[in-house]
């Protein structure tokens, strides 16, 4: 396979405006909630108000009696549905099966206990209130470390413990490193639990045709084919009679890459009630019951020489998995991913990690942009800042002394990741230059004299991307991961690209069309990209983990290349020249050097389909190819630098600017790359300063509205300065690397680092994000802050 098949030209690498935008701009785009199918009835879930309780009895009679109510289902009524469980094949990981409606016990606030179906959502909510559930409250445990104690309340009694996984792995000569070190440093961080909070909540619509036994299931999902597979298995409907359609999806960020109990319930209700059943999650449900993310307790220990060289690291990572080791990738999704990336961009030769996953009475944890890596990066970068200062080194200089340099690629990390290429030091230097680092340090010292707190935070990162089978294994999650594209030129010469990766804001209809257009020599106006419908797109895993540019781009390139070759073979017979002498540009096939000897793609395609004479022996009439791509591992990188000022009297943080230098190899569309980076940075600002899911000691959720759970708005995001470095991957098609996650991977560390830098040495006391004004002021030790 040639890795050079992705040429850069008119389309690839260009700032092409998104072809999908007009329908969003005019309100024509239809999301799940917008679908209107005659006869649809509406579901509302009855959810647990307790963090931990036994269900004694459920009385649904009043709800059933309400006019307009069709049905009320509890666990008993869905007993035939198998429980959901993590399918991750990792030794020592204990399963925690979750029935689709809570049976006997609830384990977190928001867990679905019953479901009501009514003529409209208003009535469904009225009826949900009438479902009387008799709970016996149980002691709750909401802190992961407390949940590990022998006397802690047990979530899953049959396990006899809340710890679902615990394992120590030692890599390299850790004892030697710690024995040789001049200094040993230790630090503990508790990264905050925050959530994807896509602007569109979850939702699904189940349409079952009794006469044929066909289920059409609309869902706001990132992975239609995976959902089809699981629905088929759970509901016992043969897979060929299940169609999953993911309409426009209003953001996912990982939260929609799982099989949710609600989806299984709604699919089932559609089947048994014989009416289309729709459920549109409301925001309170989304905040309480859709997967949470990113909470870990990370303890780090470093063996360091006086010159700043880090000889070895130890990490203890406790993932707070919430009530169930969830089916996305289990409660390991956070700590295991984090463990692999703790060394990051640094040349670390000895490393020991202990990974622990724990259940608590909180919502289950799942994927959210840069799963595990956000917490790991935050802990390590803040830790390294402190080590640098303790050693009297500038944090930038400390990084220079430890970073993997470009002459070391390919570089195999102590955890087994193979960094293919990158620009780690270059991105650091460029970011420092862009922000005016030396000058800022002088200014910082000046302002300190005046009692003002300027801070600079550096976060230097590597981002595992192109989530295929190889990188999944390198990151610790051994399951296969590939995707497929079908590229077809129809008889009139128009191009249809059907892909299994799903777009929920990423702009695939543009970027993947750019790839096809480039290879097939047509305008992107003549290309359409289809996704999200299992009947129209080939099988694949869907979109997550920054995989769509690499895998999607690669598979479309492969399929388009094969179709291109078919076109050239047909044209060579029509023009009576060898295929090698033909070129395609702007929709015309012509003889190289003799552009007047040409045919339109229309003519060639028309002949291919309808003129049997041009078809060579063994050739098929369809100008179509389906190709899969399961790329080698490739790693993006970058550096994010934040400048902030802290109000020493109130603890509030003002962000001045954020500079991001990123390197995702070959860019399909720089405009879209920048959009990904900026959006992820804003989420990172949220994680650093604003966002946290807060539970009280009884397991009560205190942040179930957008009033209590605070997302950053246009006034909290400062000027973002984005610059690209472009180091093409030597191992992927076209040199593409992913870009989706770096911003959220690295920004919390950058922003928090800037704040801690501003108030150093007071920042030592800070262990937990987000850096609310209160936490900052408390660290500053202000009594009465006049």
């Amino acid at each position: 396979m040639s890795l050079q098949i992705l040429p850069r030209g008119k389309w690839v690498g260009a700032r092409v405006k998104r072809v999908e935008d007009p329908r969003f701009l005019t309100g024509e785009a239809r999301y799940l909630a917008d679908l209107q199918i005659p006869g649809t009835v509406h579901a509302a879930f009855v959810r647990s108000p307790y963090g931990h309780a036994r269900i004694r009895r459920i009385d649904t009679s009043a709800a059933r009696a309400l006019p307009g109510v069709l049905a009320v289902f509890t666990a008993e009524d869905v007993a035939t549905l198998p429980p959901l469980a993590s399918g991750l094949p990792i030794e020592g990981l204990k399963p925690t099966p979750q029935t689709v409606l809570a049976k006997d016990k609830v384990r977190f606030v928001g867990e679905a206990v019953a479901v009501v179906v009514a003529e409209n959502r208003y009535i469904a909510e009225d009826a949900a209130e009438l479902v009387a559930v008799d709970y016996e409250p149980l002691p709750a445990v909401t802190d992961a470390e407390r949940a590990m104690a022998p006397d802690a309340p047990l979530l899953h009694e049959d396990l006899g413990t809340n710890v679902v996984y615990q394992k120590v792995i030692t890599l390299g000569d850790v004892d030697g490193a710690f024995a040789q070190a001049d200094r040993i440093f230790r630090r503990r961080f508790h990264t905050n639990r925050f959530v994807a909070a896509p602007m569109e909540t979850r939702g699904c619509l189940s349409v079952y045709e009794r006469s044929s036994g066909h289920l059409t299931f609309y869902s706001s999902t990132q992975m239609p084919h995976m959902l089809r597979l699981f629905l088929s298995l759970f509901l016992g409907i043969p897979e060929h009679k299940v169609r999953v359609i993911s309409p426009e999806v209003g953001g996912g960020f990982g939260q929609k890459m799982t099989i949710y109990p609600e989806e299984v319930v709604i699919a089932y209700l559609g089947k048994v009630l014989g009416r289309p059943v729709k459920w549109v999650e409301d925001r309170r449900e989304n905040l309480a019951a859709a997967t949470h993310a990113k909470e870990q307790i990370i303890e780090l220990e470093a063996a360091v020489r006086n010159d700043g060289k880090v000889l070895g690291l130890k990490a203890r990572l406790i993932g707070d998995g919430g009530a169930y080791s969830f089916n996305t990738a289990s409660a390991l999704i956070e700590p295991l991913a984090a463990a692999g990336i703790i060394p990051g961009v640094y040349d670390i030769q000895a490393y020991q990690h202990e990974v622990i996953a724990v259940c608590t009475n909180k919502a289950p944890v799942g994927a959210f942009r840069a799963v595990g890596w956000t917490a790991a990066q935050t802990a390590r970068e803040l830790f390294f800042d402190e080590i640098a200062r303790e050693l009297g080194l500038d944090p930038a200089e400390f990084r220079r002394r430890n970073v993997i340099t470009s002459d070391q690629f390919p570089y195999t990390t102590i955890t087994g990741m193979v960094y293919d290429s990158g620009s780690y030091q270059e991105s650091l230097e460029r970011a420092l230059e862009l922000v005016g680092y030396e000058e800022l340090r002088r200014r910082q010292a000046e302002l300190r004299q005046q009692g003002r707190y300027l801070g600079i935070g550096i976060s230097l990162y590597v981002e595992p991307t192109a989530w295929g089978s190889e990188i999944a294994l390198q990151a610790g999650f051994p399951f296969p991961s590939h995707d497929n594209a079908t590229v077809t030129i129809d008889p009139t010469g128009k191009v249809r690209v059907a892909v299994s990766v799903h777009s929920h804001g990423q702009g695939h209809e543009t970027t993947l069309a750019q790839v096809a257009a480039e290879i097939l020599g047509v305008s992107i106006d003549d290309v359409i990209v289809e996704h999200g419908d299992t009947d129209r797109a080939p099988w694949g895993m869907g979109t997550y983990a920054s995989r769509s540019a690499v895998i999607g781009g690669g598979m479309v390139a492969l399929a388009a290349q094969e179709v291109r070759e078919k076109v050239l073979r047909v044209a060579s017979r029509l023009l009576e020249v060898a295929p090698e002498d033909l070129e395609i540009q702007e929709g015309n096939v012509f003889v190289r050097g003799a552009p007047d000897r040409s045919l339109s793609l229309f003519q060639v395609a028309f002949a291919a389909y309808l003129d049997g004479r041009v078809r060579a022996e063994g050739e098929e009439p369809l100008l179509s190819a389906t190709k899969f791509y399961d790329p080698r591992a490739t790693y993006s990188n970058g550096c994010i630098v934040t400048v902030c000022e802290v109000d020493g009297e109130t603890g509030t943080v003002h962000l001045d600017k954020i500079v991001a230098v990123e390197d995702c190899g070959t860019m399909l569309n720089p405009m879209i790359v920048e959009g990904q980076v900026m959006g992820a940075i804003a989420q990172g600002i949220g994680g650093a300063l604003f966002e946290a899911m807060v539970y009280d000691e009884n397991g009560q959720l205190l942040t179930d509205t957008f009033v209590t759970y605070a997302l950053p708005t246009a006034t909290e995001v400062p000027e973002l300065i984005i610059e690209h470095l472009e180091t093409p991957s030597p191992v992927t098609i076209g040199g593409i690397k992913g870009i989706g996650e770096g911003g959220l991977l690295a920004t919390p560390a950058s922003v928090a680092g800037a704040v801690l830098d501003a108030i150093w040495p007071a920042g030592r006391a800070i262990e937990q994000l987000p850096l609310t004004p209160e936490r900052v002021l408390r660290a500053l030790g202000g009594e009465l802050g006049v």
């Binding site: 925001r283 603890g651 946290a692 209590t708 605070a710 909290e716 004004p773 009465l784 802050g785 006049v786």
Partner: protein, 291 residues
Amino acid sequence: MKPPAFAYERPQSLHEALEILAREGAEARPLAGGQSLIPMLALRLARPTLLVDLGEIAGLDELSLDDGTLVAGAMVRQRRLERDPLVAHHLPLLAAATRLVGHPAIRNRGTLGGSLAHADPSAEYPAVALALEAELVIRGPGGERSVPAREFFLGPFTTALADGELLTAVRFPLPSAATGWGIAEVARRHGDFALAGAVTLVERAADGTCARAAIALFGVATRPVRATAAEQALVGQPLTAETFHEAAVRATEAIDEPLSDVHGSAVYRKQIVPVVVRRALEAAAQRVQAT
């Protein structure tokens, strides 16, 4: 997240509105701008049987000047207070406070009276009314009565309004020409409710000292409160940084039951009260110097 069922009436006159309220009793709620009430309905935190929409009652949205008093109808939209030249000229404090209320789309519907009657302890308007010693004009079955702001706010979301009564207007006495004003707050994000806020008025005597001071705190206690000890510490003193500092420290004495939530604990809120008070006093002093 849909509201529970309720009936709806849209009276055309105050008289009619009062009749409906009297008939329906405690389970009826007046609907002004709805920007606080409707989310409470959606979250099913409020369950009135009847909403009485005040939107079409003539005369409730008037804004006028009456002998040294700005009279604002209860249904005057916040957006108007932000931009009306009358307010900008005579009571710029009210316009400035308005800009801290939510976001433009909220202020386009939200009303002055609605915010005051809702009595969120973290809201700006109640503190402004308290600092200015505004009179709240109330109509009920028994006729009209007027309640000073300091007697109006009783606790979180609790006011002196009895069942069947409506807030119809607010009378804001205009501060003297020698009075400067300030408003300062700390909120987590732009437009959020304050974690602590202060509204200040400082009147300068002929000798340059403080003749009168008013300091109202919001976001820190179960209702807006006047920091009387801090006010007393200012009177007769020169308008200097030292004076403000000393007064500001005493402002916390006014807080009996501090607020606490996920955005800021009681300890934190109390801790930053002197900061917002001092900043608001400095702003007031600057304005009084400028006159």
